[in-house]
């Protein structure tokens, strides 16, 4: 007997809103969080614009002890802890009591790397023969599982505590893995999400690959242009998204607010076969991932009201749309609504999936479709596949029943999640 799984808490640290209230307001109004970044300019990046969450020191003090703040150089851990603890609180949950962990609650909180600035400074000390000056927190801040370890300690989680990593699919994958754990009865509550460090040392590799745009350094808010004819690469971003997943029976017993239900999903890989490579998706795998997600959720393609795409603002956007058209057997006016938040916040790498899943749940719960910004010049190849009316440039108030969210990552990996509005009463 499997359990139904619902979402009862949300938390987010996004470039255009560092808590749920600000973020909801921002995505409804199409507010950009992309700014010129002087550090990137100084370091001779081609792309000198980025999406970085704004968090003041006094807020950090609410989540970390003064001791933890000393030598804390992992922005990913800062974002992840804030988003994760906000989600926990939003769900009406408390940290476990001092002596006993909460055996029924765990976390799967993903990241790509951890504490890259901490790592950089440690390497410099090491090479200057100052290993004895590293201090005690290099490991905790630079181990990939640092974020899940920090969260578990703050909340007293006693079920599975781990970190997943699958490039830009990480955040969507974490939610699906946490869903499976509750569905199969191995946990009652799971904190799922993902985070990504900020700054030049995390973004440099992408800049060097020339996958980021260099054409909008003097117009930052125009730079991230998913599905646009003038899209010229993604804008790097950072932050964290988190959600509390819970068995429906536990949520009802607690009288918790239910934001939506996870019906199912699928994870797969194109195996870097066919046209799939380290950096390019195998279309057959993407289509299969979407089709399998629908199948496991018991949903027909015509039931999907809204797609929240991966859509990074590179030349691959058209291919993604083609994959949705093929997988769903829907096109033109029959295609579901589709949007991408990356026009507002850029591509938040390992945090992208979770921030976008939070945005998806907010749309389901709030009955709206956030606008696609910077898409006033829709790519003609996309317009040939999908009626432009299905790619709204302004916020639509609309009841959404079923939403499909997909994320794709380097390594030819895919994740697709099917969310349903929860019908109260």
């Amino acid at each position: 007997m499997t359990k139904r799984v619902v979402i009862t808490g949300l938390g987010v640290v996004s470039p255009n809103g560092a808590d749920i209230a600000q973020f909801t307001q921002a995505i409804r109004n199409g507010l950009s969080g992309i700014k010129h970044d002087p550090q990137l300019e100084q370091l001779l990046f081609s792309c000198q614009i980025a999406g970085k969450p704004v968090i003041d020191e006094s807020r950090i003090l609410q989540y970390f002890t003064p001791l933890e703040i000393r030598n804390l150089e992992s922005t990913g851990i800062v974002y992840g802890v804030i988003a994760g603890m906000d989600a926990w609180k939003d769900a009406g949950l408390e940290p476990a009591a001092a002596e006993t962990p909460d055996w029924e609650s765990g976390t799967i909180f993903g990241t790509g790397t951890s504490g890259i600035d901490k790592f950089r400074n440690a390497v410099y000390k090491l090479d200057n023969l100052q290993i004895r000056k590293l201090g005690s927190t290099v490991v905790a801040q630079t181990m990939a599982s640092g974020i899940s370890a920090y969260l578990a300690g703050k909340l007293g989680l006693g079920n599975q505590v781990t970190t997943n990593s699958s490039a830009c699919a990480t955040g969507t994958e974490s939610i699906l893995m946490a869903y499976e754990r509750i569905k199969t009865g191995q946990a009652t509550i799971m904190l799922a999400g993902s985070t990504s460090d900020s700054g030049p040392y995390i973004w440099a590799g992408f800049d060097a690959m020339k996958v980021c745009t260099y054409k909008y350094n003097d117009a930052p808010e125009k730079g991230s242009r998913p599905m646009s004819e003038t899209a010229s690469g993604f804008v790097p971003g950072s932050g964290a998204g988190a959600m509390v997943l819970e068995s429906l029976e536990s949520a009802l017993a607690r009288g918790a607010k239910v934001y939506g239900e996870i019906l199912g999903g699928h994870l797969n890989s194109g195996g870097q076969r066919g046209t799939g490579t380290m950096t390019a998706p195998n279309p057959l795998a993407v289509q299969r991932c979407i089709a399998m997600a629908l199948k496991t959720s018991g949903i027909r393609p015509d039931e999907i009201d809204l797609i929240n795409g991966h859509l990074t603002a590179t030349s691959k956007d058209t291919l993604e749309i083609q994959n949705w058209v093929t997988a769903l057997g829907r096109s033109g006016k029959d295609f579901p609504y589709i949007n991408s938040i990356k026009g507002m916040i850029g591509h938040c790498i390992s945090a992208a999936g979770s921030i976008e899943c939070v945005a998806s749940v907010l749309q389901l719960d709030g009955g709206f479709i956030f606008p696609n910004i910077n898409c006033e010049d829709l790519h003609p190849e996309i317009a040939a596949l999908v009626d432009p009316e299905r790619i709204p440039g302004f916020c639509l108030d609309k009841k959404i029943n079923i939403l499909a969210k997909a994320s794709f990552g380097f390594g030819d990996v895919n994740a697709c999640l099917i969310l349903k509005k929860y019908d109260h009463g």
Binding site: P66, L67, R70, R132, G135, S136
Partner: protein, 87 residues
């Protein structure tokens, strides 16, 4: 340097690492960092680094291993300061 001054300096440096403020207030030569102040053993290395910076000394591994309570810590600092003065 006066022992009282040294203990006061150790108290100040240990403060952020302990949540037991009562034990910190009554710190004396017999206070054990882990048993009495309930400091996480991983943080002992941070305390040693803070002491090195405060007193301008360098504490070797063997000395560090002894610094589990206030008394032995005071002795190590005194010895290092004395060696420093001789140089």
């Amino acid at each position: 340097m006066d022992r009282e001054v040294l203990i006061a300096a150790i108290k100040e440096i240990a403060a952020p690492y302990t949540e037991d403020k009562t034990a910190l207030d009554t710190i004396n030569e017999d206070t054990d960092f882990i048993k009495d102040l309930k400091i996480n053993s991983a943080n002992l290395v941070d305390i040693v680094l803070d002491l090195e910076e405060k007193f301008g000394i360098e504490i070797d591994n063997d000395s560090m291993a002894k610094m589990l309570d206030v008394k032995s810590t005071v002795e190590v600092i005194e010895a290092k300061l004395a060696a420093h003065d001789r140089k």
